[in-house]
């Protein structure tokens, strides 16, 4: 099955703009047909609820396409990420959620074969413009990865790393930021007595919260989270979710998750993606209670995916 799908995706490349673009929106109950049409390479317009336009966008994704070598991974994505809210990206494996997330802070630049079209705007500034300094750009964002990745140094140094690379040497500033970030990440009480110890000695959940502390120490405009709980047990997951809830409003968060409950619990808006395309995007309440599309409903209720 899987191989067959890949073959079909391959065939898309030869005709990137399919002539037989069909609008299947008006035909409710034809969910399988829509997904099949996407699998066949048809360009299906996304269903974007009006609710997401209610608040100003921190990040605007505009007609974004991305290829890994010959294979296209993201198709013509256009969506705004509202400021001060938590936006969840859901979808089955391989739908391009993580790719989209990594495109926001241009970590995909590190991969040689990646080619993009279209643009994104962070608070109005182009991200993919030719004269954009990618380092400057990344300083405006924080990122938390799927696997916790503390540096092999002390807890303190991990948290203040973004300040270190800015050349900050004032001990007071560093200590204050460290404490605030750790408090922000709900880790302060657990590690306050061992800031000088190696971060690798922390448990998995603590490490992940440490990474969040490191990300918020940089005062990012957007916080990108790539399945931050997928490697954690339920208790640690609950703590992280609480943390996300606490950060809401203060930070704009874009989170990728496989966990439908998590998306419904923590996010304000949810975008459902499939095979590199945006299917439906709207306020979480609407997406989870009364989705416009049958496919979305099928996915969030676990009928496929």
């Amino acid at each position: 099955m899987r191989e067959k799908r890949d073959m079909e995706t391959q065939s898309i490349v030869t005709r990137p703009s399919p002539p037989d673009a069909v609008d299947l929106r008006r035909r409710p109950g034809s969910g399988e047909n829509r997904l099949a049409a996407i699998a066949a390479g048809a360009a299906v317009p996304a269903d974007i609820h009006a609710g997401v336009f209610a608040s100003p966008a921190v990040l605007d994704i505009e007609n974004f396409n991305l290829w890994y070598g010959q294979k296209q991974a993201l198709f013509d994505l256009t969506l705004p990420i509202p400021r001060g809210k938590v936006t969840a990206l859901i979808g089955p494996s391989g739908c391009g959620k993580s790719t989209l997330l990594r495109s926001v802070n241009r970590l995909n630049d590190l991969i040689d074969s990646v080619r993009i079209e279209g643009d994104m705007r962070l608070n109005g500034d182009s991200i993919y413009g030719r004269s954009v300094d990618v380092i400057e750009l990344r300083r405006r964002m924080g990122m938390v990865f799927q696997k916790s990745n503390p540096f092999p140094m002390s807890i303190f140094e991990n948290v203040v790393y973004p300040l270190r690379i800015d050349g900050e040497r004032n001990r007071n500033v560093l200590q204050e930021v460290c404490e605030r970030s750790l408090r922000g990440a709900a880790l302060w009480d657990e590690v306050r007595d061992r800031l000088g110890e190696s971060a690798l000695g922390l448990s998995g959940g603590q490490q992940q919260r440490l990474c969040i502390a490191r990300a918020i120490a940089a005062e990012p405009e957007v916080l990108l989270m790539d399945e931050p709980c997928s490697a954690l047990d339920p208790i640690a997951t609950a703590k992280i979710e609480e943390l996300i809830a606490a950060l809401r409003g203060e930070y704009s968060i874009l989170i990728v998750t496989h966990n439908m409950q998590q998306a419904s619990r923590v996010s304000d808006d949810t975008a459902f993606m499939y095979l590199g395309r945006l299917i439906e995007y709207g306020p979480t309440v609407e997406i989870f209670t009364r989705p416009h599309l049958r496919e979305t409903e099928d996915y969030i209720t676990g009928r496929f995916g």
Binding site: L107, R130, S131, I135, N149, P152, Y161, P162, L200, A215
Partner: protein
């Protein structure tokens, strides 16, 4: 149930799978397992065998020496009147010289006299001396004349029939009396005949009065004789023989002089004659020793004008006596024995005060004590620095003097009688000891008397050297030469080669690895890495050849330019980087692909700058001639200090920049354009460079003003094959291995750490320095250790380009000799199983252990690194 499929026929694939592996699979599995086990054990075994073999060959060096009792000898007649005893090579015969001028040759098996002869004018004989080698003698007479000549055993091969005709039929290896000597049947079934030969020259009148002490030496030009007459006058005579090359005529020239010791007040009160008179091997000193230990040296460099050159008290303890004295082989070192049982070695060294007439002083070099009895007889070996010493309590001991070891002690007489005469067979394999009524022979088992841990690692005072030193010198032109086996200069040379090659190769390899793993596009990286690794396949003999014949002469031709390039190339690179920053931001970001090309330009630019500045540098810092400057002939120390201080001052300036200027620059950069900041940065760079140079110059001038000169340490006389050449070329040779391992270690740093750092807004450079390098540090360290191991064991490059001088000097412009090169150079010349041969194996063993240790440490670090990286 096994082997039976309950769902036979209903399987998903429609076939039945065997529940037991097939017999062929089982067999193949076992065969594979045993072959692999065998291979593994074989590999370990092979390495262990190499080590074991090295130990096996080197270990006999440290075996204790032995004296095996061979046989007792009947002396035949009372030894009255005997003044000298010598034995032949196999100790079958001995000749004894008697006071009355008669020489008796005895068969040592039964004590019977084989032959008897008598020197001319025997009754008027008053003094005598016999050479250590047992071939020459000097006789002094009551009428003041001397006769020089030959007295000793001579060997010839005789016809078997002649021996048989005489009714002798010795078995192989046996010796029997024949004619005036003994004939021995060799294992090759030849008949070797030895007899005593006495051939004396015409009398030479040296003095008017009776001679009381005499000695002679043979120098390169002729014979020298020194004698003391009863009036206290020292006479020196030199007989020179020159053969006319055209006519073949032999012209003999005799000249000499005398010194009246009594008139000069050099004789002790009462006019007692010295107990010994000794003439050095070169004939430049006559030494007169009195029983109370006083020794007077007379300079006879000009035989026509002997002059006193100093006095030494050999036995300073009051009331103690000098009881035995002899020259060691080569007649330069004196061995003395006293009634305290001490055996001491004295030789002349350059006089530190320089106030003696011949500029030398006799010093005590070795002092061996331990036997509380009067030393009665001293017999040095002809071949080595071993001496046999007999004591009044009947003890005989073998010493190795240079290494200050008493090798072995035996009770020579068994009855407590003093040892009167000792003789060593010429091959050092037999010891003959004679007391009043009996004599014994021992077989000496001391194959490596000079080898001891002290001699290998400690400082040893060799004859003629100013003091104890670490010296490796395994061979020389003369026989009396003593081989010097200190491994220290070789270990030092190995370390020096390693140090300089790492100094050059390590930063390059590490930076190259960092660049390829962190900055180069993955596509380019997959091409660059194999290219650098293929550098390792360059045979080191090719590198050595290039180093010795191309690189070394080139470096010698352009010394100041090369030294300048060390500064100008980094300067050019940094300047280029700062100029790049000046480009408008748009262009800089768009043309970032051209950066590598721009960087490569730094090398030719730096070289050009070096060649442009070289002559100026040489003129201003090194008085216009760097070779002469390094040799200490011209100029002052300023230039050299500048050379040494510049890296330090550069580091200091960089540190100051990081500590002070960076913060200020960062604070003042807010609100400025990137171009302005880049300009400021360029300005700062230029000012810092100037400051570094100025600082170095200031320090150099200060040191020079304090009259300190850097020459003599790291900087000294320039030799074409030097550590700099080897450092660069061997650095080149070790780059690939350090590079590969470092690159692997850096690439093994998990990508998510890099992503985390980049995601936090760090530049690739910050990511590399703050995250990647610290994480890969142990891998980098292990790469260094493996490079170190390679440099330690490297042979061909150092052999060809290091000059192979086993000296201990850090001077970067001088050569050295490594353990490996030493083995390669000397192994073809070492006699199998000789000390030299075993010593080379010991050097190889040292090398083996050294590389083994280095690799083990590297491996241990690597395993730890692997374990740690699994955590990430």
């Amino acid at each position: 149930m096994a082997g039976e499929n309950r769902n036979a026929g209903n399987g998903f694939t429609g076939r039945r799978r065997l529940r037991k592996p097939k017999a062929t699979v089982v067999v193949a599995d076992r065969v594979a397992r045993s072959v692999i086990t065998l291979g593994g054990i074989g590999g370990i075994g092979a390495v262990s065998l190499v080590g074991l073999f090295l130990v096996y060959v080197a270990a006999p060096l440290f075996l204790p020496s032995r004296l095996d009792a061979e046989r007792a000898v009947a002396t035949g007649e009372p030894p009255a009147g005997v003044v000298h005893v010598a034995v032949d090579e196999s100790a079958t015969m001995a000749w004894a010289f008697h006071r009355d001028g008669s020489v008796l040759v005895r068969d040592l098996r039964d004590g019977r006299t084989i032959h008897r002869l008598r020197v001319p004018d025997g009754p008027s004989l008053t003094c005598w001396s016999f050479s250590l080698e047992g071939d020459r003698c000097a006789l002094g007479y009551a009428d003041g004349s001397v006769r020089l000549g030959t007295l000793g055993f001579a060997t010839e091969y005789v016809d078997a029939d002649d021996v048989r005709a005489a009714g002798r039929e010795p078995a192989i290896g046996e010796a029997v009396p024949f004619r005036r000597g003994m004939v021995e049947r060799t294992p090759e079934d030849q008949f070797r005949y030895r007899e005593i030969v006495l051939a004396l020259g015409e009398p030479l009148v040296l003095a008017a009065g009776t001679l009381v002490r005499i000695d002679q030496s043979r120098g390169p030009g002729g014979s020298l004789v020194a004698a003391l007459d009863v009036e206290g006058r020292l006479h020196v005579g030199e007989r020179r023989e020159r053969r006319n090359l055209l006519t073949g005529e032999l012209a003999t020239q005799v000249r000499g002089g005398s010194l009246d010791l009594r008139a000069a007040g050099l004789l002790p009160a009462g006019g007692i004659a010295p107990s010994h008179l000794l003439l050095t091997g070169l004939g430049d000193n006559v030494m007169l020793a009195w029983p109370d230990g006083r020794l007077l040296r007379v300079d006879t460099t000009d035989p026509a004008d002997p002059q006193p050159a100093g006095e030494v008290d050999l036995v300073p303890e009051a009331g103690r006596r000098l009881t035995a004295i002899a020259f060691q082989s080569g007649k330069a070192s004196l061995v003395t024995g006293d009634d305290l049982g001490r055996v001491r070695v004295w030789f002349r060294v350059k006089d530190p005060e320089g106030d003696s007439r011949d500029g030398t002083a006799l010093v005590l070099a070795h002092d061996l004590s331990g036997i509380p009895a009067v030393a009665t007889a001293i017999t040095p070996s002809v071949r080595t620095r071993m001496v046999a010493v007999g004591f009044a309590d009947g003890t005989a001991a073998l010493y190795h003097l240079t290494s200050e070891r008493r090798l072995v002690t035996v009770d020579a007489t068994g009855d407590g009688e003093p040892v009167e005469f000792l003789a060593l067979a010429p091959r050092d394999d037999l010891l003959y000891a004679q007391t009043g009524g009996a004599a014994r022979i021992w077989r000496i088992v001391a194959p490596h008397p000079e080898a001891s841990w002290r001699a290998l690692a400690g400082k040893i005072w060799y004859e003629g050297y100013g003091g104890p030193a670490w010296i490796w010198q395994s061979s020389a032109a003369t026989d009396s030469f003593e081989p010097k086996y200190s491994l220290m200069p070789l270990v030092f040379g190995t370390l020096k080669a390693t140090f300089y090659s790492l100094l050059f190769g390590l930063p390059l390899a590490w930076l190259a690895a960092l660049y390829t793993s962190e900055f180069l596009a993955p596509g380019a990286r997959s091409r660059v890495k194999p290219v650098i690794e293929s550098m390792a396949s360059l045979p080191s003999v090719v590198l050595g050849f290039l180093a010795a014949l191309v690189f070394a002469p080139a470096l010698e031709r352009w010394v100041p330019e090369s030294l300048t390039a060390v500064v100008t190339i980094p300067f050019a690179f940094l300047l280029g980087a700062h100029l790049w920053q000046l480009l408008p931001r748009e262009i800089m970001l768009r043309r970032s692909r051209c950066r590598l090309g721009g960087m490569v330009l730094g090398l030719p630019a730096g070289l050009w700058l070096a060649f442009a500045l070289g002559p100026t540098v040489e003129r201003t810092l090194f008085a216009g001639d760097i070779t002469a400057w390094l040799a200490g002939q011209v100029g002052e120390g300023t230039g050299g200090w500048m050379l040494l201080l510049l890296p330090l001052s550069a580091v200091a300036v960089v540190a100051a920049n990081v500590q002070i200027v960076d913060g200020w620059l960062r604070n003042s950069s807010t609100g400025r354009t990137a171009r302005e900041v880049a300009l400021l940065d360029l300005l700062r760079f230029l000012l810092s460079s100037a400051l570094a140079v100025a600082l170095a110059w200031g320090g150099a001038s200060l040191f020079a003003a304090m009259a300190l000169d850097p020459r003599g340490g790291f900087l000294d006389t320039y030799v074409q094959r030097n550590a700099l050449v080897v450092g660069m070329v061997m650095g080149f040779a070790i780059i690939p291995i350090i590079y590969t391992i470092s690159e692997d270690a850096l690439a093994a740093v998990p990508g998510h750490l890099r992503a985390a750092s980049l995601g936090a807004g760090a530049t690739p450079w910050q990511t590399a320095l703050r995250v990647v390098v610290p994480t890969a540090l142990s891998g980098l360290f292990s790469a260094m250790m493996i490079g170190l191991g390679r440099a330690v064991g490297e042979t061909m490059i150092v052999l060809m380009a290091a000059g192979n001088t086993p000296i201990m000097e850090w001077n970067v412009f001088n050569g050295f000799r490594t353990l490996s090169a030493n083995v390669a150079v000397e192994m073809p010349e070492a006699v199998q199983n000789s000390t030299h041969y075993r010593m080379l194996f010991l050097a190889a063993l040292t090398l083996f252990v050294l590389t083994f240790l280095l690799n083990t440490v590297a491996e241990a670090v690597r395993t730890r690194f692997r374990r740690k990286s699994l955590q990430l």
